[in-house]
């Protein structure tokens, strides 16, 4: 199918010369991107690259079934272009972002408002959608929340306990990461990449390293790829376990909540055993990894992993056995498959709507080309499905780790990275624990970054949470929110 695409095709974690990327007027790019999306492609990234007086739009799409990515760009454009969102809602936030960053107006966009631009000390939230009526009340939550969580503003339109509409305004943690990368990579870049979303340190660092290696036309040593895969799955285990515990906590089911909080720490400690930091900071670097896993520590890691996996199995068994938990999880916060597909949702949240999409399987790169893990899917789209997919992934990541720890490859773990090629575009997708992490880098004539685009899975998925809340009881918001478990800072960049 992708063979006949007018887009330029490339594999995951590879690069393509900027000149070879097909170039059409903006309206034509929108039309052709729409046509590809209709044929089953998925929008991974849509961003602007300043060029002369205008801005070029770049579309990165994924043909999951063909294990292929595709890119295209527009000629430098000014002013306005016909909106892609009108026909393909998955572009809605990308177009708002382009409008905010490059002042290109998508004509016909139904809800054009700032994404993360600041006005004074706070994000410019713009107007919120309002429902009129004497019975309607509006509830504003955040940006400062009661728990120790990130800031975000939630605006509910309610009729009694029922939520008619939820709108989410983020941007409180906008740090200008993408902007800081222009002209890079700098000395701090690798550290900044680990802080895009701190709980997905390995995911973002691996995506960045893959982009750098693709630009340099090389690959990390095989043992480094093996180490990255192990660290990525440990990150998934820790976060999924933590989320299952937090879900139990939100419905006041204490046994699992208490146990999973502790076991999450056990998994984090395994990452610390690997590299000295519980979140995997400083492990992954372009060109390889900084810490090796000697046989003695490998044995300890295997042993402790087995204990933690046994513990998590028991803690989650309580959760699945409790009828009162099931009553809360089932039919709560349902997102339909069609909605998830239309909105381009990714990660466990999309898989919980029955969508079979997993970068590790669809676009394998690094170690995942050699060792695969089945895609965990559950059909219902409710909180139960999202919890269930996490549990399946905990089991499968556990098995994956047990197998791969026993299948270590020898060799070095880091090689000096050659200079990045000039005028190249590199794309890397990594299945982080939240879903597809997409890094796109474009180099200038001297091989420095001309544009660096990061798409955190949360960028695709926040809209799913607002749909999940439609017609739900407002008291179910926390458990729905936790079942999505999205990143605020990964969105805000």
């Amino acid at each position: 199918m992708s063979r006949s695409s007018p887009f330029a095709l490339l594999g995951n974690a590879t690069s393509i010369s900027w000149i070879e990327v097909p170039e059409w007027p903006a309206a034509e790019l929108v039309r052709r991107t729409g046509a590809e999306l209709d044929r089953g492609a998925r929008l991974c990234a849509w961003f602007g690259v300043p060029d002369g007086d205008g801005t070029r739009l770049v579309a990165v799409i994924a043909f999951d079934a063909d294990n292929t990515l595709a890119v295209a760009r527009s000629t430098p454009t000014n002013g306005a272009y016909p909106s892609l969102t009108v026909t393909h809602p998955q572009a809605h936030l990308f177009e708002r972002e382009v409008w905010e960053q490059h002042a290109l107006t998508p004509v016909g966009h139904p809800w054009l408002k700032p994404v993360r631009k600041t006005a004074g000390d706070a994000p410019a939230n713009g107007d919120f959608f309002r429902v009129d009526g004497g019975e309607i009340h509006e509830v504003a939550v955040g940006p400062v929340h009661a728990g120790i969580i990130e800031p975000g503003h939630f605006r509910f339109q309610c009729a009694g306990e029922e939520v008619l509409h939820l709108e989410i305004a983020l941007g409180y943690q906008h740090r200008g990461i993408e902007h800081a990368l222009t002209g890079g990579p700098h000395r701090v870049t690798a550290n900044q990449m680990e802080a895009v979303s701190g709980d997905a340190t390995i995911g973002h660092a691996t995506a960045h390293a893959a982009v750098m290696e693709a630009l340099a036309g090389t690959e990390a040593p095989l043992r480094a790829q093996w180490l990255r895969a192990i660290a990525l799955e440990l990150e998934r285990l820790a976060n999924h376990t933590g989320d299952l515990g937090a879900l139990a906590n939100d419905v006041a089911f204490l046994p699992t909540a208490s146990a999973c909080g502790k076991i999450r720490g056990d998994f984090l400690n395994l990452t610390a055993l690997l590299c000295g930091n519980r979140f995997g900071r400083t492990l992954v670097r372009p060109g390889g990894c900084r810490h090796d896993l000697e046989p003695a520590r490998l044995a300890r890691l295997s042993e402790q992993l087995n204990v933690a996996l046994r513990d998590v199995e028991r803690a989650c068994a309580w959760l699945w056995d409790a009828a009162s938990v099931r009553a809360r999880f089932e039919n709560t916060g349902t997102v339909f498959t069609q909605q998830a597909s239309d909105l381009g949702m990714v990660g466990p949240v999309a898989r919980a709507c029955g969508l079979v999409r997993d970068v590790r399987y669809d676009h394998p790169s690094g170690w995942y080309r050699l060792a695969q893990t089945p895609v965990a899917v559950w059909p219902d789209g409710d909180v139960f499905a999202r919890a269930r997919v996490r549990w399946l992934e905990v089991q499968r990541s556990g098995e994956f780790l047990q197998q791969q720890l026993a299948a270590a490859v020898d060799g070095g773990i880091r090689e000096e990275l050659p200079a990045s090629a000039p005028d190249m575009l590199a794309v890397a997708l990594v299945e982080g624990w939240r879903g597809e992490i997409c890094h796109v880098a474009l180099t200038d004539a001297s091989g420095r970054f001309r544009r660096y685009k990061i798409v955190d899975p949360s960028f695709h998925n926040w809209i799913g949470l607002t749909l999940a809340l439609r017609g739900q009881a407002i008291s179910d918001f926390p458990v729905c929110n936790k079942s999505f478990s999205l990143s605020y800072c990964g969105f805000d960049l």
Binding site: A252, A322, D476
Partner: protein
């Protein structure tokens, strides 16, 4: 002279012992979860700490924001003073004091709700709406329970009503009253006293904006209400009037402890219900009390 001494003693029991109950519940929960948990006297420390703090008041709120919790606290305390503390601590009741008892609890609820609505916050509005909705059902169950006790004992004075046992319907009455206790005191499965999520709160949402001494008064009042319902449940079920005074006292203490530990176990092992399902459980509690009433009314004749 003895009656004044007795009055002071009873007052001391309610004021000083009540904050221990939430501590026991938290210990039970911690024990089940395999944690150490906060010390038993945590609420005492919290109350002392809050008492020393200043009050932050919304510029929009009227004095009712402070008066509400104060009146509610007094109402709960007076209601508690009508409850006998076993045969040794007989209350100075009068004919029909049970109605005053129920209405005092309603006054307390009214004042808390009123104070909650003062700030005009959406959270407190929601919390108040939920509190009052649940109250419609739990008050009906409480009324029926009291009615069944009245029929059983042939009296409308709390002292006499609670001296005898609930008879054959005791188990039904215990189940009904225990559910009412959980609902009235915002425990799992109706509410989650530990949650920090405003959108899911009931009672907690109503006191979000309170601080300092008024918050201390609210927390202390809540612990007294918990003890009040535990004592009511224990005395409704146990035939304390037929026991030796010393035995009866120990039986009462044991029963109150058992109820408290029971609340802790429920909270440890059960997830919280969705809001739309909670009325079902309260209706069940109401029906338990109705059947207890029927047994008290017709059971003796059969």
């Amino acid at each position: 002279m003895t009656s004044i001494l007795e009055f002071i003693l009873r007052l001391a029991v309610w004021l000083l012992l009540a904050p221990a109950l939430p501590g026991i519940i938290n210990k039970v929960k911690a024990w089940v979860a395999g944690r150490q948990g906060p010390p038993m006297g945590q609420l005492y420390y919290d109350l002392a700490r809050l008492w020393k703090k200043s009050v932050v008041m919304s510029t929009l709120a009227s004095p009712a924001f402070i008066i509400g919790p104060a009146v509610a606290w007094i109402a709960v305390l007076v209601a508690a003073m009508f409850l006998p503390l076993g045969p040794v601590g007989g209350a100075p009741g009068f004919h029909g004091d049970v109605l005053l008892f129920i209405y005092l609890l309603a006054v307390a609820r009214f004042c808390t709700t009123w104070a909650a609505m003062e700030t005009g916050s959406a959270f407190e509005g929601m919390g108040s709406a939920r509190e009052v909705s649940y109250a419609v059902l739990s008050e009906a169950a409480l009324m029926t329970a009291v009615l069944s006790l009245g029929v059983q004992s042939g009296s409308v004075t709390l002292n006499e009503m609670l001296a005898t046992s609930a008879g054959a319907g005791a188990v039904l009455l215990a189940a009904g009253l225990f559910t009412v206790l959980l609902a009235e005191n915002s425990r799992v499965p109706f509410d989650d006293p530990n949650t920090h999520l405003e959108l899911t709160m009931i009672h907690e949402a109503m006191v979000l904006d309170h601080s300092g001494p008024p918050l201390a008064v609210i927390l202390h009042g809540a612990s007294m209400k918990l003890m009040l319902f535990a004592v009511l449940l224990a005395e409704a079920v146990l035939p304390l009037g037929n026991m030796q005074p010393l035995m009866a006292t120990f039986a009462l203490i044991g029963a109150v402890l058992a109820v408290t530990i029971g609340v802790g176990l429920v909270e440890s092992l059960l997830a919280r219900f969705a809001f739309r399902r909670a009325p079902l459980l309260l209706t069940t509690a109401f029906l338990f009390c109705v059947f207890a009433l029927l047994i008290a009314w017709k059971g003796g004749a059969a």
